[in-house]
Subunit: 193 residues, 2 copies
Amino acid sequence: MDSQLIVANIRRHVPLTPEEEAFLKAILIPITYRQGEIVQPAGEIGPGMIHVNSGCLMTYYTDRDGDEKVIQFATAGWWTGDLHSLSTQEPSIFATRALADSEVYLLPDVRMNELLERYPVFERYFRITFQNSLVTHQRRLIQAYSFTAEERYDSFQQKYPHLEQFVPLKYVASYLGITPEFLSKIRRKRTTH
Amino acid sequence: MDSQLIVANIRRHVPLTPEEEAFLKAILIPITYRQGEIVQPAGEIGPGMIHVNSGCLMTYYTDRDGDEKVIQFATAGWWTGDLHSLSTQEPSIFATRALADSEVYLLPDVRMNELLERYPVFERYFRITFQNSLVTHQRRLIQAYSFTAEERYDSFQQKYPHLEQFVPLKYVASYLGITPEFLSKIRRKRTTH
DNA sequence: GAAGGCGCTTGAACCAGGTTAAGAAATGGG
DNA sequence: CCCATTTCTTAACCTGGTTCAAGCGCCTTC
């Protein structure tokens, strides 16, 4: 597996010395998953941050009725991981699963702390990353409250142009906060003009 | 105005040397607002991060229909500020208003960048702060999609036990993503057993 | 102290989206 | 290749929440 993507992504936000880059590469653990495999089960303490190199992961949780509610999709270049579990060391309520064959790098919790302590440039990098992610989450919250399901579907299609082709629609519906049946209605309206 | 609270809040997450503390204090600008005053209008570039020392602010935006949609309330000890406007230097779509007489510290954008460059401990502090805020936002997103309005109202009352007494109910309704009329109905059901 | 103006409530009609159930289409494993 | 399971769609009906319109209490302000 090739660590070009992750290093390039980091360099888009902060400069890295050869030493910093080498240290990062040394602690990253490459893992591959087949479509459908569980990357991280619910109920365990999150092992660390995961960077998607190729493929697609989804993070979800199982609600009171046993339905799987999708929190986010992570495609190439994205970070995922249960931040709450990582900072409190409590078991995660989220699970993560590969929706396609995927290559990821795991940045184990303990190693990440080492990385942050030794090289503050990574504090900066993650500060910026979390800041950006916060903006995205704020926007989704606004959409959840003031857009209709159909508008959210539009915006999903724009944000993830390829996902709809290989992600089961029931997960897309879940991500949008609607039932698969209602997504079906929206899609029919689209195709029949 | 007294900077004990903000320093204590930062110290809960990272250690500060006297020098770091002094520099921070030197660049913070204390401002007070009367109830109802605009802290930050929409359409301007965000001036920086705002830390609430006392009182209460609300951040909202005005949607297509001219309705004010509340994004968040910020009480003593909270940071607020338009992260998107700050990082892109685009005009903010959010406005912030004081819901009660309030004392805040403004950390101006340029000064914040200086602070982060000189003292990486603040990169760490904000990394942790944004990380925690991300967890909160994730949770609200889950609530928006899988809780009923009534459950969201419960959780609002737990999170902000005092707010309901002095915040106009129409803003509470907006924060919950419902109309004032429907909040009224929920409340009636509560009081009449 | 009358006249607004604003925030809150009420009720009735209405709609976006959910529920249930059943069939059609796709997927996958032996 | 075929059967079993899962996923997707359709349709009829249901409900949480909205919209609209009116009334009420409580500040202002003249």
